[in-house]
């Protein structure tokens, strides 16, 4: 994962994720309220969900408070906090030093949306596996690799291979039914 984020960015990620997990804990707790009382069972079906909800809330709240403390200290210091050395951070630094490259978070978002669209097409029976896969693979290769002749050609070959060859392989060799 990225190691060259400012520590304040790490703290904001902790705050956001922590709050989301507190929300998840609340959902777990609310869900456990509808679980019936146990018969002849000292534990009951609601005990573990409630214990998980409490623990997730407690750990997440601690994470949020720790992150809030870091942000407060950063504001007082009027700059980024020095990164706390840890084995994880140092090993990530080793990996990050290998090469410099431009990160593309929006590309990843677009790819996930494309994956969702691929699924939705088959879910709503707009196309079967072969057509949907062919279009998905070609579109993904172009999205990730750029609209260049080489990626178009390789993407088209991959699309055909997976759509037709893949369908044959999975249905005839592995006996897997496909949408």
């Amino acid at each position: 994962m990225q190691s060259d984020r400012a520590p304040t960015a790490d703290a904001w990620v902790d705050v956001i994720v922590g709050l989301a997990l507190i929300g998840l804990a609340a959902v777990l707790w609310i869900g456990s309220l509808s679980i019936g009382a146990p018969f002849f069972d000292p534990l009951g079906s609601a005990a573990v969900p409630r214990a998980c909800a409490v623990l997730i809330a407690a750990f997440s709240l601690t994470m949020v408070l720790q992150a809030a403390g870091k942000l407060r200290r950063a504001r007082r210091a009027r700059g980024a906090l020095p990164q706390e050395p840890s084995a994880q951070a140092l090993t990530e630094e080793v990996i990050a030093e290998a090469a410099t490259w431009r990160r593309r978070p929006w590309l990843a978002f677009a790819f996930v949306v494309l994956c969702g669209a691929y699924m939705a097409v088959m879910q709503w029976r707009l196309a079967g596996f072969r057509v949907a896969t062919g279009v998905f693979v070609l579109a993904s290769v172009v999205l990730l690799g750029g609209f260049k002749p080489r990626t178009l050609v390789i993407g088209a070959i991959l699309a055909l291979l997976l759509a037709i060859g893949g369908h044959l392989l999975f249905t005839r060799f592995f006996y897997i039914d496909l949408p």
Partner: protein, 494 residues
């Protein structure tokens, strides 16, 4: 030993040998590609093995496990991009040695150390697993509950990063296993009216999401990432025998450390290689050379990470407790193939167990032969454009998840847990504890319920029963450890 001989005889048959060979070869290749890994490969292949003989399927997956841990050294040394987390320490000395004009030697040291580490762990696997399984037969519900709890606490406290986040990951994993039918009363819980959740989240789509889809998302962010590749000449890569004698102490120590860290439930190969690297440096006559291309660093890291694989198989085979996150996937594979993990496996399915152990030993030898012969060639093909690979991986994820129950809901689970896994990693919440928690959740709840029924609702047996009490005390020590240890300089910092 007759069981082991039967295991080798099984592997000598054409099809089992083919599956083992395929597993090791694919594991090496996938392990060498940065961004892919053994967990991803095994998760992707699992659904394709539904119609296979279960012994051959698990033999192939063990081969993938061994191959992937070893394959990571190729990109670590030649691209300065560790193919797997367990090869990070190999990068520290492997890449500088390669830059200094000895890439072949670095590869040879890594490959040879991987073999020796793997075989030493294999000896422990052969001789420790049966008595451990017999000992575990005496376990009752409280022993299983406290041991599973210890596994979660250990991986949370020993893994890199914050223990708080490790524990959070573990509890999240447990929580994700809760929706669906509760076996104790036959009622569904936490489904919120979604009938698709009546069976809960199936393990395979969750593993595909957490291990594969989250990595796919990360790789698409880093799509422009390329390593600085070093070419390997035609020089022989395997050092002569006299050099290996010089490294014998380091090899033995690193292998034993790797094996015993692997035995600790939940702890993976990356921790083994880090600890061994640190020890090698501490005991070295030339500690200042570590990080500059020193033999001992490569030997320590690679012997330990391969030994960890064998060590981690011991609790899995003997007790049904995963020794590492990848073993958690293997545990899922066992369940999917209707094999009940646990200490009774040795008595109910001894031939299967010995075939797995024989497969582990044989996989190390095959790995050595394949890598010694082809490491140079693998290096030329592993640094390729991921734009072609990521869509293919997602299609395999879709097929794998869909194959389970013929419903696209499972594929949506893959995407959902992929996003969750990515977000957790963004927040530096480790996925190892999450997966261990997910896999052990049902065991934890079921054993706690049984224990409470036997003790009339009392929790005291967690402390008063000797074995359960020992596990509880170890868990408490692990929880308290970060607060009582003195700050230490990591092997990388100094």
């Amino acid at each position: 030993m007759s069981g082991l001989a039967e295991g080798f005889l099984f592997l000598a048959q054409p099809w089992p040998f083919f599956w083992l060979l395929l597993g090791v070869a694919s594991g090496i290749f996938v392990g060498a590609v940065p961004g892919l890994g053994g967990g991803m490969l095994i998760s992707l292949v699992m659904p394709l093995t539904f119609n296979m003989d279960h012994t051959s399927a698990l033999v192939m997956m063990v081969g993938m496990y061994v191959g992937s841990v070893s394959g990571g050294l190729i990109s670590a040394i030649l691209l300065r991009m560790p193919g797997t987390p367990s090869s990070v320490m190999t990068t520290l000395d492997g890449y500088p040695m390669a830059v200094n004009g000895q890439p072949g030697r670095a590869l040879g040291l890594g490959i040879g150390s991987s073999l020796i580490g793997g075989l030493i762990a294999g000896i422990f696997l052969v001789f420790l697993s049966p008595p451990l399984a017999r000992w575990a037969l005496a376990f009752g519900p409280w022993e299983y509950f406290t041991m599973a709890l210890m596994a979660l606490v250990m991986i949370a406290s020993i893994s890199q990063g914050s223990m708080l986040k490790g524990l959070l990951g573990g509890v999240l994993g447990v929580a994700m296993a809760l929706p669906g039918l509760n076996e104790s009363d036959g009622q569904t819980r936490l489904t919120f009216g979604f009938h698709a959740l009546d069976d809960g989240f199936n393990l395979l789509p969750v593993l595909l999401g957490v291990f594969v889809m989250s990595q796919v998302i990360q790789d698409s962010i880093d799509i422009e990432r390329r390593g600085s590749r070093i070419r390997v000449g035609r020089e022989p890569i395997m050092p002569p025998a006299r050099e290996w004698r010089r490294h014998s102490v380091n090899l033995a120590r690193s292998s034993v450390v790797g094996t015993w860290i692997g035995i600790l439930p939940g702890v993976g190969a990356s921790v083994s290689s880090m600890v061994s690297y640190g020890l090698a440096r501490t005991f070295s006559k030339q500690p200042q050379k570590f990080g500059t291309g020193h033999d001992e660093g490569i030997v320590a890291s690679e012997a330990a990470n391969n030994a960890n694989v064998g060590g981690a198989l011991i609790p899995l085979i003997a007790m049904g407790i995963p020794g590492s996150p990848i073993d958690a996937i293997l545990l899922g594979a066992l369940v999917m193939h209707n094999i009940q993990p646990g200490p009774l496996l040795f008595t109910s399915n001894a031939s299967f167990v010995w075939a797995l152990i024989a497969a582990y030993l044989a996989a190390n030898v095959l790995m050595f032969v394949m890598m010694a012969a082809s490491a140079r060639r693998i290096a030329t093909v592993i640094d390729f454009n991921r734009a072609y690979l990521l869509p293919v991986i997602f299609v395999f994820c879709l097929v794998g998840a869909f194959a389970l129950s013929n419903r696209l809901f499972d594929v949506w689970i893959v995407i959902g847990f992929g996003i969750l896994g990515f977000v957790l990693q963004l927040a530096k919440i480790p996925l190892g504890p999450f997966v261990i928690g997910l896999v052990l959740a049902n065991l934890l709840e079921a054993q706690l319920r049984s224990g409470l029924q036997l003790s009339d609702g009392s929790y005291w047996p967690m402390l008063t029963r000797p074995i359960a009490g020992s596990f509880t005390v170890l868990s408490l020590i692990c929880l308290a450890y970060p607060f009582i240890k003195r700050p230490r300089v990591s092997p990388i910092e100094s």
